[in-house]
Each structure stands twice: as structure tokens, then as C-alpha cells.
Amino acid sequence: MAGEGDILAAMPIYPRMPADTKGKREKPNLSLPPLNDPLWTRFYMGKEDGYDLVPAYPPLPICLRLKDPFLLPPGATLEGWVFSRIEASILVNGTAIVSYPLAIPFKTLYGTPDAGVVCRFEEAEFLATAEPVMSSLNDDPRFVAHPVRLKNTSAVPVMVSELCIYGEQLSIFGQESLMISERLLFLFSSSGVRMSLDGQAPLPPGAITIAKPTVSGEERFIVRSFELFKAITRI
């Protein structure tokens, strides 16, 4: 609990990456720096006397690199699941103050260097519901499950190696121990790939809403169109 005039301080601590290739491992340093250390991020709390810690999508789009890329024949439709990492978001009176990734966030470029989008990088498997790893991932609180439908409308086979997910358009539904998003449709066409919410998918039964989308799909579309227009015209 935090009250008026309190200072809320937070700092993410990640497990150390192996520093070299010789197999030496350093002991994890569990001692925290003093509170006046600039590593701590501070927020002054107003009149609200509490805050919520909820799962959220990262502020950047998520680029999932599939561990096993596959070919999608022309006209084919494939359904399955992918999992992405959530962040811990601090909300005050329903307003997101800050969110922290639960692992060191790596980045990647989705698109070309002159007009691409910088995304969070993650590696994932494309899974069918029957695969045994599904159940273990479902119980892992670090991940949110995305039911996906891939459709190739182009005339040529498409090599599916990456899927880019715009988390700001998605909700997180809690279904028992599973966190799940709306179903996503990835449409591969001759002009590129487009992510959208799959209108055909029903909401999971008995699901409760943990996180709502921060922007609507239409809003995002307008913003992206304007960004594209600005990038093209340099106005």
C-alpha cells in the first residue's frame, strides 16, 4: 500500500547472463543497491492510497521468431498457438505508470532498415493444441497464450519464420491458471503480412479480463497510416 506523499520505488533485477564461454558461473548478487541509487525508478504517489501490479504487454510490438520456421502453401489456413512474455505493470487508479519486463528485453527489427519497426525480440514455438509442451507453457505465469490463425492468400508459398504481435491492441483474459489473448489472424498476401483480431473466434468461456487494450485496432490503424504517410512524404 502507498499513500499520499509516498514514494514508490521499483527496480527490475534479472538473472545474470553467462559472462563467458568457459563455463564459469558467477554467484548471483542478491544485495540491492541503497535507495538513493539512481538505478531505482521512483514515482511520487498522489492522493490514491494503493496501486495494482498486473500483467501487461510490452510497450513495443513483440516479434516472435519461430524456432522451427515452416512453409505455408498458397491458399492454406493453419491454426495454432504461440506464447509471448508478459511484463509487470504498475497501475494507479487504473492508469499504467510503468511496466517492467520479467527478463532482459532484447530487440529486433521487423521490416527493412529504412522503414521497419523496432520490436521486442522473443523466440517461440508454433504449437498445436495437442502438443505436450502446451500444458507446461499454459501453467507458466510468465507467458500469455495467443491463439493464432495463419492464412496465405498469395499465389506463392510463404516461409513463416516471424510473427509480429501488437500487444497494445490485445486484452489479457484469465482462464484458471492460463493467460490468453484474443485470437489473432495473420494474413499473408502479396503486399505483405497483416495482423488483426480474428472476428470468427469466440471469447474463452469463463474468462475474466485482466488487462484491456490500450488502443483500439482502428486507432492503431489510423496512427500507423499517418506514420507511414509522414515517412513517405517527410511532412
Partner: protein
């Protein structure tokens, strides 16, 4: 005869007020010549030309303002509006003179001569102004971009009619004339979403190149800011005088390039130190010759193994 005299004397007295008015404003005065019906008509025509012209220019400027607010940045928009405004004023003046039936050909001739004289005097300004139009239309950079011009790098602070102003990273305002920008090589550093960090590394000849490459790739893979895609670029640039030249390029989001630059150089130095890979630097090896003294005596000279010189 008496009544006649009386009448004759009375007449000038009765006409006295009228004659005073014409004394003040005689019929052949300049005022009388100016305020003819023709002059009044001219005045009305000129007034109409000015009023209608001002309304027309005001409308055009208002429409242009609204259009440029949506489609252009504020600086470019105001430049376009100002040009339109001044052209409109010139149009009003010419129209008003035409309505006043002033001989415009003589005036325009004089204006032409004055224009030539002014053109010579304001050659640099005009050149900068025209260059400014080309800069705006080329869209090489916009307000807020970081550009580098002839070694001067900074944030584009404003794009004006005559010059572009940069705010350097040590917080100085640099004014660069538009003409200079047109003639110079301008690098827009923040145009694209990602930027590559180019590292030129020189390692000693006894270092293992393949192992060094593996280490560099591992550093990039574990760097938080370095992008996974596009993948880092590696190239052996050649056998140099002092060591083996390597090129290693790592991509970063443009906004994180600065932090990535520092983090990458620090990580490479630490890791090379830990792995025992030496950076090469210019060295000079001196082989001294023994010096003979007398017939058969030889003084051996102490031989330094290796002397390093920067």
C-alpha cells in the same frame, strides 16, 4: 435716381456671404481641381480595389494557413503563408494603382530597375531564399532530426527562409545558410528507425580470428540494446601494419545508438581482456648493430627485445 443708387448699393451687401465662400475656395483653386466627379469616382474605385483586395488576400491566407497546418510543419507552413501574403499585398498595390489610372508601365519600369539594383545588393539573401525552397521541397530532413553538415552535428532547431538553425549537443545554436546546405554533404543521422554501429578493431597477429569473431558475436547476442535482426556484420579488413583489421557492425534502434555505442565498446574491451585477446597498436622493432672499437675489441650492445612507440 436715388432708388437706383439704393439698389445698387444693396446688391453687393446681399451677395456678400456667397462671395466669402468662393474667396476661401476659389473655383480655379487646386482643391476645386482635385474634387471633381472624376476624382471621386477614382477614389471609390481605389478604395474598392484595396478593400476587396484585402478581403481576397485575407481569405486566401486563411485557407492556406488551414491547409498548411494539416500538411506541413509549422515553419514551412508559415513560409508559404508569408510568401502568399506578400504576393497578395503586391497584387493589391498594383490593382489600386491601376484603379487610380496611374501609368503602371513607367512605374513597373522603374520597379524593374530598382529590382535589378536590389537583386545585386541582395544576391546572397535571394540565393539563400531559393535554396531554402529547394531544401523544403527535397525533404532531406525535418525539424527534430539530427543532421551532420561538414563535421557539425546537431538537432535541427528551425528551418527558416534564409538559414537552418542547429542546436548542437553541447547546446550551441549554429546558423547554417541554406546555400551552404545545398552545396554541402548533409547526413541525416536519425532519418531511419535503425542505425549501425561500425567498429574497426585491430587485433595482434597471434590472435585467433575465428575465436575473436565468435566472441564478438556472443557480445552482440548478449547486448540488451543490440538488435537481433539485422544480424551483426563481420569482415576482415586486411593485414595491417600493426595487426589484423576487423570490422564489426552492430545494429541499434536509432534512439538507443548512443547508449549502445558505449555499452558495446566497454563490453568488447572487458571481454577481450578476459579472453586474452590483445588489441594491436603501432609498434617498432629495433635491431641494433654491434659497434667495433679498435682492431679486435667488440663492445656488445644491450639488445632491447621490443620497443613500442605510438
Amino acid at each position: 435716381m436715388e432708388p437706383t443708387t439704393t439698389l445698387a448699393e444693396a446688391a453687393p451687401q446681399a451677395a456678400a456671404p456667397a462671395s466669402r465662400f468662393w474667396d476661401i475656395f476659389p473655383t480655379d483653386s487646386l482643391f476645386d481641381q482635385m474634387f471633381t466627379m472624376d476624382t471621386a469616382l477614382k477614389l471609390i474605385r481605389v478604395s474598392l480595389a484595396i478593400v476587396l483586395g484585402l478581403i481576397f488576400v485575407g481569405l486566401v491566407v486563411a485557407i492556406l494557413r488551414r491547409m498548411t497546418r494539416k500538411r506541413m510543419d509549422s515553419r514551412t507552413g508559415s513560409l508559404v503563408v508569408k510568401v502568399a501574403q506578400y504576393l497578395g499585398y503586391a497584387f493589391i498595390v498594383i490593382n489600386a494603382l491601376d484603379a487610380a489610372q496611374v501609368n503602371l508601365s513607367a512605374l513597373l519600369g522603374a520597379a524593374g530597375i530598382a529590382g535589378i539594383a536590389l537583386g545585386f545588393a541582395a544576391q546572397t539573401s535571394v540565393s539563400n531564399f531559393i535554396s531554402g525552397i529547394f531544401i523544403v521541397s527535397e525533404k532531406t530532413f525535418a525539424n527534430g532530426d539530427v543532421i551532420s553538415v561538414d563535421g557539425t552535428a546537431g538537432l535541427v532547431y528551425s528551418i527558416d527562409a534564409i538559414s537552418v538553425k542547429l542546436r548542437t549537443f553541447d547546446n550551441q545554436l549554429i546558423r547554417i545558410p541554406n546555400e551552404t546546405l545545398i552545396k554541402s554533404k548533409v547526413a541525416n543521422i536519425t532519418r531511419f528507425p535503425v542505425r549501425r554501429l561500425n567498429m574497426d578493431i585491430l587485433i595482434t597477429y597471434d590472435a585467433d580470428i575465428e575465436r575473436t569473431v565468435a566472441i564478438l558475436k556472443d557480445i552482440a547476442a548478449n547486448s540488451q540494446n543490440a538488435l537481433k535482426n539485422p544480424e551483426p556484420v563481420f569482415m576482415v579488413t586486411g593485414f595491417k601494419d600493426s595487426g589484423i583489421g576487423l570490422f564489426f557492425g552492430v545494429w541499434y534502434a536509432t534512439s538507443e545508438w548512443f547508449d549502445g555505442n558505449n555499452a558495446m565498446y566497454i563490453a568488447v574491451k572487458k571481454r577481450f581482456d578476459a579472453e586474452g585477446i590483445e588489441f594491436a597498436f603501432p609498434t617498432m622493432t629495433i635491431y641494433p648493430k654491434p659497434v667495433a672499437i679498435g682492431d679486435d675489441a667488440t663492445i656488445p650492445v644491450r639488445q632491447p627485445r621490443r620497443k613500442k612507440a605510438v
